[in-house]
Symmetry: C2
Subunit: 190 residues, 2 copies
Amino acid sequence: MKQQIRILGIDDSPFTFDEKYSAVIGVVMRGGEYLECVLRRQVSIDGTEATAICEQMIQNSRHRRQLKAVMLDGACLGGFNVVDIDMLSKSTNLPVITITRDKPDWKKIKYALQKNFKDWNERLSLLQKGKLHMVPTRHNPIYIKCTGLSLTEAKEIINISTIRGVIPEPIRVAHLIASGITRGESYGKA
Amino acid sequence: MKQQIRILGIDDSPFTFDEKYSAVIGVVMRGGEYLECVLRRQVSIDGTEATAICEQMIQNSRHRRQLKAVMLDGACLGGFNVVDIDMLSKSTNLPVITITRDKPDWKKIKYALQKNFKDWNERLSLLQKGKLHMVPTRHNPIYIKCTGLSLTEAKEIINISTIRGVIPEPIRVAHLIASGITRGESYGKA
């Protein structure tokens, strides 16, 4: 696999619960090293349009044809606005990988969904769709889902695009921008 | 000089003339390779507080003590809100370098200032303060001013932090973020 493949990393901005929207930042990077483009959209907090927003962001970008993979910091943007990663992969014809540092706590997630959403069952099903893989790293393991490519290919893309720590640069950089533009100074880890 | 020195790059967002403010984006990078932090402030378009805004951005950042240099895409933020780079360097105790692709056209600048500002003479004096150096590169030359360090040191910092083309990464990345968050997709060159 080419070291310089174009990857789109997506993350959302932090928000408070009196806000209606969260900014969604996309970054196009060549491998893990060179930033080529910054994209911005927004999603409604706890809404249901995150999949469509990601799809539009990709389809309308002039980098569309160069992209080889999409990475998400978990499948939720703007609270519990869940991205259907299978649908996103099919509609864009691109592999999609979600990456998180922590194993999802399904008991807690189910409780939060049931408490806040009439359609909690649909959101939970979407979140639980697809196999979760624990991937060991030199540091702590990460948890990934992948669709539109094999687990071996997903691991290779993660490897190519990770410089320090365990989070690939496209997600780490999207996180820094999303938190920095919202809070004035970026903080925390993707 | 260390290859991994922390540099703050600053650029402003594009704006239309019915807007009052322009976003100012700062990025802290180690050399030209690793993004560590994203900062955001705003300046009033054609205002007079750009120097103070840059100073606050630097002094309030938790990366303050690691910073070794500041780079600006020219001395203007938000139209003709001119940064006094000598004052910024003195108040932050950091070297400041401005970099542009084009040699300033003083006739045009003077005309634009006279047409729009009562204090045009002060703005012009600020802009003309300090020696402008043409620095050859492998591509086109760039035009720089530097304060708080020697020209040789400034060239070395530019060298360390430039990966492709002629614009150092801290300015290039700040530009991509500032234009991307404002327009939805970054475009153009710093």
